[in-house]
């Protein structure tokens, strides 16, 4: 019910909204929760597990129950939104969640009406026990339909999400009394200050008082101070790196903004959170935190009920009861769990005509979707309510004043230690390694009430007393977990799921801990504390992703002929961040047909591949040869300028790390290529050795991957096609594994005679922006473009390995059949010592072999190779497998134990589609084993 006067709402600006299809009106300044309460709506949703009716419990970010779905149109449906944190706007559309078929009549709840609740560990017990069959037949389908919260949106989010980085001397989190004071003091001392608060209006609990928030005007006058409202500090990173989520909802589509703040000093002024109280039926709509009820009256001029009962374990509840009475509600009774409430409060209540019943609790609540009464009961000596002596009191509102928990989630995220303070009956901030201070109620609490231990002890026998209302965890679940042997609070938490809902147990977590302690017969500090983890409250994916979506999700690198390939209708594949043309289908061709045609073109005439994505590093300096000599397995000192080597790079553990062509361009200048995916890590490894192991060498390393565009022209017709375009050298005189500077198609080039296909061929390196021009000339000369798939087939036909395909970080040069590349006379190189370890010399090491299927099927890459008795021993695996158009049959490469000594043997490759496939172990060189074509 809305009060005629008071509150911080703007009665001149009415706003229309709907909930579950019904139209309502509220005012500017309302939250969705206050507007619903003003309209008498108490039933907001159904609980996660039992579908019990739930209402509004709090007035802030800690709300576990009042979760709704907001619908702002396609792509803007937002589930699990706390109604207490949504400022009311014109036309707001909200819906309840987790109910079927409707909120008022929910079939799921029928299951829970008569039946006992699903106990803690229900899932585990049903999975493992004799009831396992029942799990699949009965429980799983039922639970899958009933459990869960909200529905994810299906359409893409059309809104924008911003991102800002900020630095300041002082970041103050929480704009209540303590936060405002800390911010003002820092600003007056000259600091740049950021003050953030999750609420729409700064002030914290000062907003419960009428009139302007004290200190706010002085803050707004500070030029170096920024106030961020609707902004939640949700992550506390190392060295005061704090992430803030700001909700903007701007009309231009900027929805939320992520702030990354690095602060020299952080002041936590996050206050304290009121706890619920554990009694039977404490989850019924109309049962509310006392301070929340006070907030609804003071801030939004809403009376959440007409006849209230206060259950108090703390003095602060009396303020709420008195405020409600002042606003016109009746206070039926104050039930105080304490034997001796302060005399002053009792007198104040008596003066108002309110009966205070010390040492009383609630044995049960009455009502359906809304509380209609309580059973007020005197407490037994153990603190539990004595239902036999209970008296029924009619009411429509139950206030819980359970005492206060200092809000130290962020302090815990900052790796701060919490220490138990017996006098405060709370965990308070202890040591932290961060430049961090706590101020106000989060540092001191808000004064003790009835000790938590006593509250917990009195609740152990209660039925359906919820500790975690969102996850439907009761005091009995926790007691059961302890009886079943769960000792650690971390295990109790996981087994019962208490504190694991989206609210992370802000109002019930401490109680769960106290109940665990009570059930174990221990003191609270002996039980310990669970660590708080980010985010403090849920953050939308949009905020975290920011602009990093769609095309900006990950950078895309394209080769110089990308546009040409696109125009030709090429099919691309990602290789790391590169998009490479995989094949160039002609009309009517599928992938197999296109790849076969491209392969045959290379074998019979000439093909053209854009090889620009290969990593390239220039190694320059008087000691360049010595540096490479120490790093790569090959010998370089005797190498003449103009020659190329197939270089192998190992890690210090002796395993293959990368390969490529190393060309000596001049006495003091080498050009080396790396694999496409290995460019960055190879340069990193070389820099590491150069800077830290061999700093005496005068060598400079420069990545020039993007500088050079590379056209690989391969095939028996390559020379005839290229020669007319070449000026400056005699192409026919350039031998295999040689390099020369020349002019190609009028473009200055380094012309390499190298081959990754087994055919005579060239790789022409020109400035990347000139490659497209060269490319068109070579196509015009008759070259057939081919893609990475044909490239893979062609190299496999020759038994050339690909790092990362034939190797997996456990393959040595000898395993790969590349022992010939090692400079035998070399005293040392990276990984050499490891090659002499006994393990590396075992005869049964897995070696690269060729595998010739005895039938026409292409084996599956990754298939295990079976051999030995009954073919049950996995002795290796298939690393590459293709159909070879040149050979007219499938071929494969694999790693096989002692493989090179087993030529002619039959092994079997597993198949997902059935019986293992027989393969003959053969030489990995399927095509032109004598290598005549290279020199043709």
């Amino acid at each position: 019910m809305r009060l005629a006067t008071g509150g911080r709402i703007d009665r001149s600006r009415p706003l229309r909204f709907s909930f579950d299809g019904r139209a309502y009106t509220g005012f500017a300044g309302d939250t969705l929760a206050s507007a619903l309460l003003a309209n008498g709506v108490q039933l907001i949703g159904r609980s996660f597990k039992y579908h019990r009716p739930r209402g509004i419990l709090s007035a802030g970010a800690e709300e576990p129950n009042a979760l709704v779905e907001l619908d702002r149109g396609p792509g803007r449906r937002e589930p699990n939104t706390r109604a207490t944190m949504v400022p009311l706007t014109e036309g707001l559309v909200a819906r309840s969640q987790n109910r079927w078929p409707s909120l008022g009549f929910d079939l799921g709840a029928l299951a829970g009406l008569g039946a006992p609740l699903l106990p803690a560990g229900f899932y585990y017990k049903t999975f493992l026990g004799p009831g396992r069959d029942a799990w699949y037949r009965r429980w799983e389908p039922l639970i899958r339909r009933m459990a869960g919260l909200g529905r994810a949106p299906e359409a893409p989010d059309p809104d924008r999400y911003g991102n800002r980085h900020a630095h300041c001397e002082t970041l103050v989190i929480g704009a209540g009394r303590a936060g405002i004071a800390a911010a003002l003091a820092a600003a007056e001392a000259g600091d740049r200050v950021i003050l953030c608060d999750e609420q729409a209006e700064p002030g914290g609990r000062l907003l419960l008082l009428p009139g302007p928030v004290p200190g706010l005007e002085a803050l707004r006058a500070q030029p170096r101070l920024r106030i961020l409202t609707r902004t939640t500090a949700f992550h506390y990173g190392l060295q005061n790196y704090v992430s803030l989520a700001e909700v903007l909802d701007r009309p231009d589509g900027l929805r939320e903004r992520l702030w990354r703040v690095r602060a020299r000093r952080v002041v936590l002024a996050t206050g304290a959170l009121e706890r619920l109280l554990p009694f039977s039926g404490n989850d019924r709509p109309g049962v509310m935190l006392a301070d929340a009820a006070r907030a609804y009256v003071a801030r939004w001029a809403v009376l959440p009920g007409r006849r209230a009962v206060l259950l108090a374990a703390h003095d602060s509840g009396y303020d709420a009861a008195f405020a409600l009475q002042d606003a016109g509600a009746g206070v039926v009774a104050i039930l105080d769990l304490r034997a001796a409430p302060p005399a002053a409060l009792r007198e104040a209540a008596a003066a108002r005509g309110i009966a205070v019943r010390p040492a009383h609790g609630i044995a049960a609540t009455r009502g359906g979707a809304r509380v209609t009464g309580v059973l007020a009961a005197p407490l037994r000596p153990d603190g539990s309510p004595d239902a036999a002596r209970a008296e029924a009191l009619a009411c429509d509102l139950v206030l819980m004043a359970g005492g206060w928990t200092p809000n130290l989630a962020l302090f815990s995220q900052a790796r701060g230690r919490l220490r138990w303070d017996a006098a405060a009956d709370a965990f308070l901030p202890g040591e932290t390694a961060e430049a961090l201070e706590c101020a106000g109620a989060c540092a001191t609490g808000r004064g003790p009430g009835l000790p938590l231990a006593a509250i917990a002890a009195g609740s152990l026998g209660a039925r359906k007393a919820f500790v975690d209302p969102q996850n439907d965890v009761t005091t009995r679940d926790i007691a059961l977990a302890v009886r079943e042997g769960f000792r650690s609070i971390e295990h109790v938490k996981r087994y019962t799921t208490t504190g694991m809902a989206t609210d992370q147990g802000k109002i019930g977590g401490m109680l769960g801990l106290a109940i665990t302690a009570a059930a174990r017969g221990q003191a609270i500090p002996e039980v310990g504390f669970t660590t708080f983890r980010p985010p403090y409250t849920p953050v939308s994916f949009g905020t975290l992703a920011g602009r990093h979506r769609a095309a900006l999700f990950d950078p895309v690198r394209t080769a110089p002929t990308h546009a040409w390939a696109e125009a030709q209708g090429a099919v691309f594949e990602p290789v790391g961040q590169w998009q490479r043309a995989r094949y160039f289908p002609r009309a009517g061709e599928d992938m197999a047909a296109a790849v076969a045609r491209e392969c045959l073109a290379v074998r019979n005439a000439a093909g053209l591949l854009d090889a620009s994505t290969l990593g390239k590093v220039e190694v320059v300096g008087p000691d360049a040869a010595e540096f490479l000599e120490r790093c790569y397995v090959n010998a370089f000192h005797g190498m003449r300028p103009g020659r190329c080597r197939y270089g192998l790079l190992l890690r210090e553990d002796g395993f293959l790390y990368d390969d490529g062509v190393i060309a000596r361009l001049a006495e003091d200048r080498f050009h080396l290529t790396t694999t496409t995916g290995g460019a960055a890590r190879v340069l990193h490894l070389l820099e590491d050795y150069l800077q830290t192991e061999f700093p005496e060498l005068r060598v400079w390393l420069t990545s020039n991957t993007e500088h050079w565009g590379v056209a690989a022209l391969q095939g028996p017709a390559a020379r005839a096609m290229l020669a007319p375009l070449v000026r400056g050298i005699d192409l026919a005189a350039l031998p295999h594994m040689a390099v020369a500077e020349a002019e190609v198609a009028g473009i200055p080039a380094w012309l390499f005679r190298v081959s990754f296909t087994g055919e005579a061929g060239y790789e022409v390196n020109v400035p990347a922006d000139r490659l497209a021009a060269l490319w068109e000339r070579l196509i015009a000369a008759g070259a057939t473009p081919y893609g990475t798939e044909a490239m893979h087939v062609l190299r496999a036909e020759k038994g050339f390995i690909i790092i990362g395909q034939e190797t997996d970080g456990t393959v040595t040069p000898e395993d790969a059949g590349l022992g010939w590349a090692i400079g035998k006379a070399k005293r040392d190189f990276i990984g050499k010592r490891s090659l002499a370890r006994p393990e590396m010399l075992r005869p049964d090491r897995r070696q690269v072999v060729g595998l010739a299927p005895r039938d026409a099927r292409v084996p599956e890459e990754g298939a295990q190779l079976l051999a030995g008795a009954d073919r049950r021993e996995a002795q290796g695996h298939v690393t590459s497998a293709y159909h070879s158009a040149a050979l007219g049959r499938p071929i494969a490469l694999g790693l096989l134990s002692a493989g090179r000594a087993r030529l002619g043997e039959t092994v079997f490759a597993t198949r997902l589609d059935g019986v293992p496939q027989p393969l003959e172990v053969v030489s990995p060189v399927f095509w032109d084993p004598e290598g005549k074509r290279l020199h043709g």
Partner: protein, 90 residues
Amino acid sequence: MLLIRCPWCGDRPEVEFRHAGEAHIARPADPAMLTDAEWAGFLYERANPRGDYRERWRHIHGCGRFFNAQRHTLTDRFAGTYRPGEEPPA
């Protein structure tokens, strides 16, 4: 995210850096002279302490240099960073 002081560039965010393992593990001058066990020790054995730790970082998205740092593995607090060849903080 850590704030790391590159000895050449100053304080920079962690995303500009790449961790490079424990510091002060020099490659043996003549690996061939080492026993298999000694070589395995060089390859694989690391201190991994709970407390102060000397480690290498590379300012890979900045100046590209390797340097050393002393960091507490529990608090992640840096006692300091220093160039190769310089003395670690006391």
